[in-house]
Symmetry: C2
Subunit: 301 residues, 2 copies
């Protein structure tokens, strides 16, 4: 069934011509996605967490049950807290908690595992500032959805406590691109291409093993991870990143929830000004995080 709003999103992303270089592409993505209207009460403040630049996103309704670390997507090569302001403001409102959008280093200038090192350093800094792990949630989309789980694995390896929960939006969890949907849905995916994904993986890995758990968490052991929520569109090449990760989580005894939204394109959440499904999905993900940052809510359910 054709969805004009989805077509508008795709057209918006493809607008702006062909920038001459990587920096041009990055700026264009920041301008197109970051140029959406956003809630009047949203505030964005630059901060540094463990040496890593970040942006603190708050809305007037925040009740501060904790904080949400947000890892943006963009194939490890693009994206920034600026591009994601419309998304992060709505997620902060849904979670009713401040959000910390982490501007980790990007590839190819900074290959694997630079991104994981940065998100882990920022997490460590938040813990050391006195916020207990039980009051910290992770969220991220696409490559940043991979970082949600990769950062948990890295933190586990470093002996750090687990955050309260993780929320992956169209998460990219397999840089080896082995999911059946990667080929089966290539023709129906509205946004992504196999060449595009493989190009990003190569630029980020630069020879590192694509099956390293921090690069492709779908191949990892999830033992000890906190509750996870994964959302993915039914026509995404990345569908089976989520279906496989859900099973991996289940077999490791991890509470996992997966939602498949029909016909939505990769990271539809990025377009709350166009797609009502973006707002609805962020509401569900934000509620999942909020209930786990505020255990009394879960007990009262």
């Amino acid at each position: 069934m054709p969805n004009q709003a989805v077509a508008d999103v795709v057209a918006r992303l493809k607008s702006g011509g062909q920038p001459a270089d990587l920096q041009g592409w990055r700026s264009q993505f920041d301008a197109v996605a970051g140029g959406q209207p956003m809630p009047d009460d949203a505030r964005f403040q630059p901060i540094i967490l463990g040496g890593v630049p970040a942006e603190r996103v708050t809305v007037a309704a925040a009740e501060e049950p904790g904080v949400v670390m947000f890892f943006h997507g963009g194939g490890y090569m693009f994206g920034s807290s600026l591009a994601y302001r419309a998304l992060t403001a709505i997620l902060a409102a849904a979670t009713r908690a401040p959000l910390l959008a982490i501007n980790y280093r990007l590839a190819p200038e900074h290959p694997f595992p630079a991104a994981v090192e940065d998100t882990t350093a920022a997490y460590r800094a938040i813990l050391e500032s006195g916020t207990p792990a039980s009051r910290i949630g992770f969220a991220g989309d696409s490559a940043g959805g991979g970082l949600v789980i990769a950062t948990m694995l890295s933190a586990r390896d470093a002996g750090l406590p687990m955050p309260a929960a993780g929320y992956g939006i169209s998460p990219w969890l397999d840089l080896s691109c082995e999911g059946k949907s990667f080929t089966e849905l290539a023709a129906v995916d509205q946004l992504m291409t196999a060449d595009g994904a493989r190009g990003c993986a190569a630029a980020y890995l630069q020879g590192s093993d694509a099956r390293h758990p921090w690069a492709s968490p779908v191949h990892a052991d999830f033992t000890g991870l906190p509750p996870l929520m994964l959302q993915v569109g039914s026509t995404e090449m990345f569908l089976d990143d989520s279906t496989r990760a859900a099973r991996t989580a289940a077999l490791a005894g991890v509470h996992v929830e997966m939602q498949v939204w029909p016909g939505m394109p990769h990271v539809w959440h990025l377009w709350p000004s166009i797609l009502p499904e973006a707002v609805a999905a962020l509401a569900a993900g934000g509620r999942f995080l909020r209930e786990r940052l505020t255990p009394s809510l879960t007990q009262a359910m």
Copy 2:
């Protein structure tokens, strides 16, 4: 991690000795599960729907956005609205709608497709009484979780409109028992055995094809089905009934949500008097149904 409450549930189910015949097993299940305390405000009234006996379950808080049809489990051989009163009362409260627990005919006296014929006849009667399909939700556990989807497929084949949503609790969606978890988790499943499941399948099918879509919806085409929620325990042999059905739903463009709850036994929801996770899971499932029986709630999310 040992969970004493789960051990108590298993002991409760295995209490009562070895009845001499099938009717003895049925009565024992009704007595053990149906003997739990239940909410003071719950009311149970016998009714007939399309010639099928049923029980109408209401609680004082009901706002009546619609009705929920409930299909009990028990391998198509056991179970009744009586055994499920603790569960149905809590689900009615969570949905804030009256619940109609359908006492479909059981095997081996009434083989496949008697159960599907009965649930479909009851659904048709509710439609003919003037309740629109958009105000009807389906829910069911184990074999009844299979009936949630089988009844949708049967209704679709008969040209009836789809209900608003379906909620499967540890659904048994594959009578051919082909899920990987059926063997991989056989040793850790606290309640079920392969012989037990295969025995029930044989008693119900009596030679019919186990891969018939009404018997094993996991092999069906889900095109046109309404939003589905599936909940399953991480140590259940039936885990992959849900993981496969979630993928089948996704590829058919059906909105699907799957939740995996760590360490919970098959249909833990049946024990709200022992397991807090039963109440929490029914709250989540009830909320899913309620939001779809009351579209303005979803739009306001």
